[in-house]
C-alpha cells in the first residue's frame, strides 16, 4: 500500500527537482510513443532535443529558439502572475490574436506612411488590445461573478472568428489578388519588427520577454503587489484579512497577462509571421499555460521552460520533415509533459510512504 503523508513544509528540493524529473519521464514516455508510431525512439529524441542545438544545421535552428521561445515566455510570465493568485486566464490565445489585430491594424492603417513613431504606436495598440480583451472576463467576473476560465476561453473562439473576418475583409491586402491575409509587414519598414542583431533571432518581442522576466522576478520577490499576489493564491481569506483588494488584483492580473499576450501577438505578426492571416495563430497562448506550470510559475523557471518548449517545437518540425513524425505527436508530447509535472508535483507537499497493510 502506498500512502501519502503531508510534509510539515513544502519541500524546496522537490520543488526544483519536479520539472527535471517530469522532463526525463516525458522523454521516456515520448520515446515509447514514437516507437509505437514506428520511429526509432532514440533517433526521434535526438532529433528533437539535440539536433536543433548541436546538429549540422544548428546555426539555423538556434535563433529559432528565441523566435519561438520569446512569445511563449512573454505570455507565460503574464499568465503565471494570475495563476499564482488563483486567477485563471486561459484565453491568452484570444488576447494574442486581438493584440496582433490591433497592432497590425494600426500599422496597416498608416500604410504607406513611414515614421519612427509607427512601430511604437503599434506596440501600444497591441498591448491595449490584448489588455482590453482580457478585461472582458475580468470585469464580468467582478460585476456578475462569472467564471473567468470559461469566459476567457469563449473569447478565444470569438477572437478566431474576428481574425477570420479581418483577414478576409477589413485588413485584406488590396493588392493581394483576392487571396486572404493582410499586407506583409515585413515589407513595410516602419512597421516591421526586424531582428535586432542579424542571425540571432533576437527581435523586440524577445527583448520584451526578457524584460518581463526581470520585472516579474522583482515584483514577486521585492514588491508588496507580488507578495499580495502570492498571498491571495496561498490563502485568499488571509489576503482579505491582510487588506488585499481582490477586485483590484483580478484587474491587475488579467490586465497584465492580456497586455503581455497582446504584445506577443503584435511582435509575432509584425515580425516572424509578417501578416494577418486566418491561421496566423499557432496555439502559443495554450502552450504558454504548459510553460507557466513547467516553470513552476517562477520567472526564471518560465524562461528556461519557454526555451525548452521552443526546442520541442523546432525539434518537432525537424522530426516532421526528416522522420515524418506527425506534428500532432509533439502536441501529445507537450501534453504529457504537463501531466507528468502535475503528477510529480505531489512530492513537493507530500512524502510517499510504503505501508504494509495489516501491520498496524
Amino acid at each position: 500500500m502506498i500512502r501519502l503523508e503531508k510534509r510539515a513544509e513544502p519541500s524546496q528540493l522537490w520543488s526544483l527537482l519536479t520539472p527535471v524529473v517530469a522532463v526525463i519521464t516525458t522523454m521516456i514516455a515520448g520515446g515509447l510513443l514514437f516507437a509505437a508510431l514506428g520511429k526509432n525512439p532514440f533517433v526521434a529524441i535526438r532529433t528533437i532535443f539535440y539536433d536543433p542545438l548541436f546538429g549540422e544545421f544548428a546555426f539555423y535552428y538556434r535563433p529559432q529558439l528565441l523566435v519561438k521561445g520569446g512569445p511563449l515566455i512573454l505570455i507565460a510570465i503574464g499568465l503565471s502572475l494570475g495563476f499564482r493568485a488563483g486567477i485563471w486566464n486561459i484565453g491568452a490565445e484570444g488576447q494574442y490574436i486581438i493584440g496582433a489585430l490591433c497592432g497590425a491594424g494600426a500599422g496597416l492603417a498608416l500604410y504607406p506612411m513611414e515614421s519612427v513613431l509607427i512601430f511604437p504606436l503599434m506596440i501600444l495598440c497591441g498591448l491595449l488590445g490584448g489588455m482590453l480583451w482580457a478585461m472582458i472576463p475580468a470585469i464580468l467576473k467582478l460585476k456578475f461573478g462569472t467564471n473567468e476560465i470559461l469566459v476567457s476561453l469563449m473569447l478565444v473562439y470569438v477572437a478566431e472568428q474576428l481574425l477570420a473576418s479581418m483577414s478576409l475583409g477589413l485588413l485584406k491586402n488590396p493588392e493581394g489578388f483576392g487571396f486572404p491575409g493582410s499586407r506583409n509587414l515585413q515589407d513595410y519598414p516602419s512597421a516591421h519588427n526586424a531582428e535586432l542583431i542579424a542571425g540571432t533571432g533576437m527581435h523586440w518581442g524577445v527583448l520584451t520577454a526578457f524584460i518581463a522576466v526581470i520585472f516579474a522576478y522583482v515584483l514577486l520577490k521585492k514588491h508588496m503587489l507580488g507578495f499580495n499576489i502570492r498571498l491571495t493564491g496561498e490563502a485568499p481569506r488571509a489576503a482579505r484579512f491582510g487588506g488585499v483588494n481582490p477586485n483590484r488584483l483580478i484587474l491587475f492580473c488579467m490586465g497584465a497577462s492580456g497586455a503581455l499576450a497582446g504584445l506577443a501577438g503584435l511582435f509575432e505578426v509584425a515580425g516572424p509571421a509578417g501578416q494577418v492571416s486566418i491561421d496566423f495563430n499557432v496555439g502559443y497562448g495554450f502552450t504558454a499555460i504548459i510553460v507557466a506550470f513547467l516553470g513552476r510559475l517562477h520567472p526564471v523557471g518560465i524562461l528556461l521552460a519557454g526555451l525548452l518548449m521552443a526546442l520541442t517545437y523546432i525539434g518537432g518540425d525537424i522530426a516532421q520533415s526528416s522522420l515524418s513524425l506527425p506534428s500532432a505527436a509533439i502536441q501529445v508530447f507537450q501534453g504529457m509533459l504537463l501531466f507528468f509535472l502535475l503528477a510529480f508535483d505531489v512530492l513537493t507537499n507530500f512524502r510517499i510512504r510504503l505501508a504494509v497493510k495489516g501491520a498496524a
Binding site: 513544509e9 508588496m224 490563502a235 488571509a238 484579512f241
Partner: protein
C-alpha cells in the same frame, strides 16, 4: 461482574513528530457514563477515532463485550454498536435533516418512514426536529440534535460524544444532559469527552484522565474535587491572570446600529449591533458558535465594509475603510481561524509577520518590501511570545496550533494597537499558553488599549472581561458588567432573551 462493554488496552498511535496516544487503557461498563478528560491536544480525539475506526492504532488492542474489536472503518464500528457525535459536526449544510440522518445509517429505511422515525425518536428524547429542514439553516444546538438522532436511530450500545457542550447555551446543556441520563437509564453506555470539570462531575460515573497522550489517572468524578481533577489534567499549577481595571478612559471604539450581510451562504448576518469600548477596557462577547462572531470580527477588522458611521474609532467614522487603513489608525484584529485566515499556511513566519505588520511596522517603502524589517518583527514576536519554532523562515503550517496562536496574537499585541479585536484567542491551545495569551491581553488593556474579546469559552470571558455581552443570531444582547453575572443570566443572554423578558 460480566466483561466490560469496551475494553481498551495499551493503545498507541504516533503521527510524524508527535505521539498522540501512548499506551492508553481503560474500560467502559454497560450503562456507564465514562468521561475522557484532558486538555486540548491531550489525545482524546485520537482515542475516539480509533474506537470509531477512523484511525488504526500502531499497537494495542480493544475488546468489545469480551471479543476482539478492531474496526477497519466507521461502518464496522457502527455495525458493532458504536455511535459518534462529532465535535465539528459531520453534517451537510445543503441537505435536509432526513438526508443527513440517512447518510449516517447502515441501512436506512425509505425516506418517508425515516422522517416519521426522526420525528418520533426526537420527541421521545426531548430533542424536537423537523426532518424536512435544510441543515444549513439550523442553529448549532439543533445541528447537534441531528447528530444525536442519527446515532440513536441505530440503537447504539456505546454513544461517543466529543466536546458536545462547547456549542450549547447553558439551558441547552441541561436539555442534553436530561437526554443522556435517559439513555443511560435505558442501558446505553456513553463515552463523554470534555475538558469541563463541572459538567463531568454532574454527569459522569467514571473518568479517565489523559495528559500529553498518556493515561494519567482514573477517578469517580462525584467523589473528586474539581481542583484535584484539574491538577491531574494540567499537571502543573496555573498562573491566574491579575486584573486591574480602569474604567474611566475615553471611548475608542464605538459601534452604532451595525447591520451587515454575511459574505457566506450559510453565515449569520449582523443585525443592529451597538456598543462602545473605552480605553483600558475589555469587552467580552460570548455566544454559541455561528451566531455572527466571524462577521462581527470582519466588520471591525475592515474585511466587511459597512457605511462609515456604523464603526467609529476615536470618534472618526471608519466603517467604509479596509483592513490596511484601519491598521493605520490603530485598529487591529486576530480572527479565529489560524490557518488560512489569520495566517497563510504555506508561507513563512516572516511573510506572515508582513501580512498584518506592513503598515504599523513600516515594512514597505514605495511598495517595496523591507524583508529585513519583516524578519526582525517575526523574531520579536517569536521571542516575546515564546513561539516554539526552529526559525522565522518556517512555514506557518509547520507550527503546532498553540504556537501559531501565540504568533498570531503576538503579532497584533506587539503592534501596540489602540483597539484590538480577537476571536477565540485561546482556542485549541494548552493551558499554559492560554494563560500567557490572556495575560498579554490584560497587559495590553492596562496600557490603555480597548479590547473586544469574542470567545465561546465562558470561563475565559468571566476571567478577563470588564463587561459582557452575547451574540445570538447576529444580534447583540445588552452589555452588562461582568462581575456578579450568574450562569443563568449569561445563559439567557446567549439565548437571546433580554432581562426584562426573563423577568416576565
Amino acid at each position: 461482574m460480566s466483561a466490560p462493554l469496551l475494553s481498551i488496552q495499551a493503545l498507541t498511535k504516533a503521527y510524524p513528530g508527535v505521539v498522540a496516544n501512548d499506551s492508553v487503557s481503560f474500560d467502559i461498563e454497560q450503562g456507564q457514563v465514562h468521561a475522557l478528560l484532558g486538555e486540548n491536544g491531550a489525545g482524546k480525539s485520537t482515542v475516539v477515532k480509533m474506537i470509531y475506526g477512523l484511525v488504526k492504532p500502531d499497537s494495542g488492542s480493544m475488546t468489545w463485550q469480551g471479543a476482539p474489536f478492531a474496526p477497519t472503518d466507521p461502518n464496522a464500528a457502527r455495525s458493532a454498536g458504536v455511535g459518534m457525535v462529532f465535535q465539528h459536526f459531520s453534517l451537510f449544510d445543503a441537505l435536509n435533516v432526513a438526508e443527513n440522518v440517512a447518510l449516517g445509517m447502515e441501512n436506512p429505511p425509505p425516506m418517508r418512514d425515516l422522517a416519521a422515525r426522526i420525528k418520533e425518536v426526537s420527541e421521545n428524547y426531548g430533542l424536537p426536529l423537523d426532518p424536512a429542514r435544510t441543515v444549513g439553516d439550523l442553529s448549532a444546538g439543533e445541528r447537534q440534535r441531528v447528530e444525536i438522532i442519527r446515532c440513536l436511530l441505530q440503537d447504539p450500545k456505546l454513544l461517543i460524544m466529543d466536546e458536545p457542550t462547547s456549542v450549547l447555551t447553558p439551558q441547552e446543556v441541561q436539555i442534553l444532559f436530561k437526554t443522556l441520563r435517559q439513555l443511560k437509564a435505558e442501558g446505553t453506555s456513553i463515552l463523554y469527552i470534555s475538558h469541563k470539570l463541572e459538567e463531568i462531575r454532574s454527569l459522569c460515573d467514571h473518568a479517565s484522565i489523559l495528559r500529553l497522550g498518556k493515561n494519567v489517572g482514573e477517578c469517580i468524578p462525584a467523589q473528586t474535587s474539581a481542583r484535584n481533577m484539574a491538577e491531574l489534567m494540567v499537571g502543573d499549577t496555573l498562573q491566574t491572570p491579575t486584573r486591574t481595571a480602569n474604567l474611566d478612559g475615553e471611548v475608542l471604539l464605538n459601534v452604532r446600529n451595525l447591520s451587515a450581510k454575511s459574505a457566506s451562504a450559510f453565515g449569520t448576518s449582523l443585525k443592529d449591533i451597538s456598543f462602545s469600548v473605552k480605553s483600558g477596557e475589555i469587552l467580552g462577547l460570548g455566544g454559541v458558535a455561528g451566531n455572527g462572531q466571524d462577521e462581527l470580527l470582519a466588520a471591525l477588522s475592515g474585511e466587511l465594509r459597512t457605511s462609515p458611521d456604523t464603526v467609529q474609532i476615536k470618534g472618526n467614522p471608519v466603517g467604509h475603510l479596509g483592513p490596511k487603513n484601519r491598521r493605520g489608525i490603530g485598529t487591529l484584529a486576530a480572527p479565529e481561524e489560524r490557518l488560512g485566515h489569520a495566517a497563510a499556511p504555506n508561507m513563512s513566519l516572516i511573510e506572515n509577520a508582513l501580512l498584518t505588520g506592513e503598515v504599523r511596522q513600516n515594512l514597505s517603502k514605495k511598495g517595496f518590501v523591507n524583508w529585513k524589517g519583516a524578519q526582525d518583527f517575526a523574531q520579536d514576536i517569536i521571542k516575546a511570545f515564546d513561539v516554539r519554532t526552529p526559525g522565522p523562515d518556517r512555514a506557518a503550517r509547520a507550527l503546532s496550533g498553540g504556537n501559531l496562536q501565540k504568533f498570531v496574537i503576538g503579532r497584533e499585541v506587539l503592534q501596540e494597537p489602540d483597539v484590538l479585536v480577537v476571536n477565540q484567542p485561546t482556542w485549541g491551545v494548552d493551558a499554559a499558553a492560554a494563560a500567557a495569551i490572556r495575560q498579554s491581553l490584560l497587559d495590553l488593556a492596562a496600557k490603555g488599549t480597548a479590547l473586544v474579546v469574542i470567545s465561546q469559552d465562558l470561563d475565559e470571558l468571566m476571567e478577563i472581561s470588564d463587561r459582557f455581552g452575547a451574540l445570538n443570531e447576529g444580534r447583540l444582547s445588552e452589555i452588562r458588567p461582568a462581575a456578579g453575572l450568574t450562569i443563568e443570566e449569561i445563559g439567557l443572554m446567549m439565548g437571546g432573551v433580554s432581562a426584562q423578558e426573563a423577568a416576565e
